[in-house]
């Protein structure tokens, strides 16, 4: 990555709060007719529509908990912070339209660093066609804090909850999983190597896919469009932010069902398999508990199977059972293991 070493360092205090907001939000254009009023008043205004329900989701990202600026470039961080919220909107089978962005920063960040962060935020807005309509900018006593709220919309009949899965429905996953977690392990290892020897040059070549999954994840906008084209309305849906186990448990709990997942069906990228071997990790455990994949997990009626079966983006990994049958992983050796939540949990004690 080529960085401009001649960047100047403008102190945030030189601009002040309102000057900084003006600076960071300059040139922002509203794309959607529904974005009636963006930044610059006490609140944003969004038009209503009797046919469309609004979807609201919010995430709080804290430096040292959710990201490490040691290997996370600020531009990527801004991008990812938006993506994690949009993923939740897509998981409702809805289209995101607006976001608000609040940040708290300490004075150690020059304005140019925040420009990088906002570059990533604006790039995500452009690619995912959402309007940045508001937020809050304040100071922090320690690290960087980012809080984003996404607002989306969908017709009432299109919205998909976690709670609609029914016995015999097929459990489907988009893309492949486990990559983001392994990307983090690779970056952590390189950070330790760099600490021990600052002249070392990391060779990330064998891990490009994994590192990209961690640093520049994508939200599955395409899947929501694809399902619409295929005329499939999932019976339940959730995004995989905390790991497959955790999300399956959420769907089954909300839907009052059980589930069988087949180990040999879980889609893994070849880099996930080879890196698991290198790190001596079990790839199924990583897939089940890794998290941060931002893929979509959903259930469909069996009669919809022919519509999705040819699609390389979608994999059937199991099926819904009666609640009393429990939630199990069927291993390659054909043994049944109860699924327990081991997803990423930021509230666990270190």
């Amino acid at each position: 990555m080529i960085e401009d070493k001649n960047k100047s360092n403008t102190k945030i205090s030189e601009l002040g709060e309102f000057g900084l907001i003006d600076h960071l939000t300059r040139g922002i254009k509203l794309r959607h007719k529904s974005s009636v009023k963006g930044i610059g008043d006490d609140a944003a205004v969004i038009s209503g529509d009797i046919e469309l329900q609004k979807i609201i989701t919010t995430d709080l990202l804290v430096e040292g908990v959710h990201f490490d600026l040691g290997y996370m470039p600020l531009k990527h961080l801004g991008y990812k912070a938006v993506i994690v919220n949009l993923s939740d909107v897509y998981a409702m089978n809805a289209q995101p339209k607006q976001i608000t962005v609040s940040i708290a920063v300490s004075n150690r960040f020059p304005v140019e660093a925040l420009d990088e962060l906002y570059d990533g935020i604006k790039t995500a807005c452009k690619i995912y066609n959402v309007d940045l309509v508001g937020g809050d900018t304040t100071s922090s006593t320690s690290g960087l804090i980012i809080s984003i709220t996404a607002i989306g919309e969908a017709k009432k009949e299109d919205i998909v909850y976690r709670s609609g899965a029914k016995e015999n429905d097929l459990l489907v996953i988009s893309g492949d999983i486990g990559g983001a977690y392994l990307g983090l392990q690779v970056l952590e290892r390189e950070k330790q190597v760099f600490k021990a020897n600052p002249n070392s040059q990391p060779d990330l070549e064998p891990y490009t896919y994994l590192v990209e999954r961690q640093l520049k994840p994508q939200a599955r906008k395409d899947i929501v469009s694809l399902l619409k084209e295929l005329e499939v309305v999932p019976t339940s849906m959730i995004d995989i932010s905390d790991g497959l186990s955790s999300e399956i448990l959420h769907i089954c709990k909300a839907s009052k069902t059980g589930c069988n997942i087949y180990e040999d069906k879980i889609p893994l990228d070849p880099q996930v398999i080879s890196t698991c071997e290198e790190f001596e990790l079990d790839s199924t455990t990583i897939a089940m508990s890794g998290g941060e994949d931002y893929e979509l997990l959903f259930t469909i009626k069996t009669e919809d199977f022919p519509k999705i079966k040819a699609n390389p983006n979608l994999t059937v990994i199991g099926h819904i059972t009666a609640q009393k049958e429990g939630i199990h992983l069927i291993t390659r050796a054909n043994t049944k293991i109860p699924v327990i939540a081991r997803g990423w949990n930021s509230l666990q004690e270190e």
Copy 2:
């Protein structure tokens, strides 16, 4: 204040992230028909209405910047964190309907402390008739962080922006100002006294109004209802969070106008006047630059004056002029002083 000294200390890690969310949001009932889906899915769902536009506003509160747990009880903090957002919705002449609450906490907080915080949040929701529909709960490496987003609604023709003030409009303020800032000064002083002598008992009796303005501010829900009753739609409106000077400048900048404010018209509580004398502070400076009053500042057409003049909650403090005339405070001695922003600015260097 009587505190229960027998409270147990449950570690957050005993509950885990989802257990904690379940615990904190237990018993929450949705009051509004528009709150289609609250906590418990990837996102909240709110119904649309062609007649009603949605208002979105968000605030990020950081421990050590916006609040000091040394004198801010957690219950009050939760209450205030909601109020500051609702105030922004009222400032659009709209009714808040939903909020999302995200918190980041370190392990030094037991679950019981978060119960206190949520008690305050739930109390505010009850009093102001808003539904808690979502949020995020995560860990923090240092202090407590609270991010709240409020969603409101209003008919298009009722929404009031900062930008609608016109020459000759009257500038009106609700309630009185300066109290919250002085309350903070009193609390800061008592904190220093307590540090020097932990056996000292603070006598806050002469400052009850000021301390309440700081610790338990109210949003002016009543003013929005009152204006509706009086059939007055303000031409512009803003809430006073950063101080009167700062807000007047916002209105004039957005409306492309000037303004004259009369020093002798600024409404001050007797406790503000007496405490300013005690602290040797100029009460006008405090009123103009103090902030955190959460009163509403708005402009009305001169023909609407008869409708509001008898109301003890509303005071005309000036009038809008042409932009070229500038923005001035007319002092008691009848001199004109240009108004500059000296509001509370959390991004200024210490």
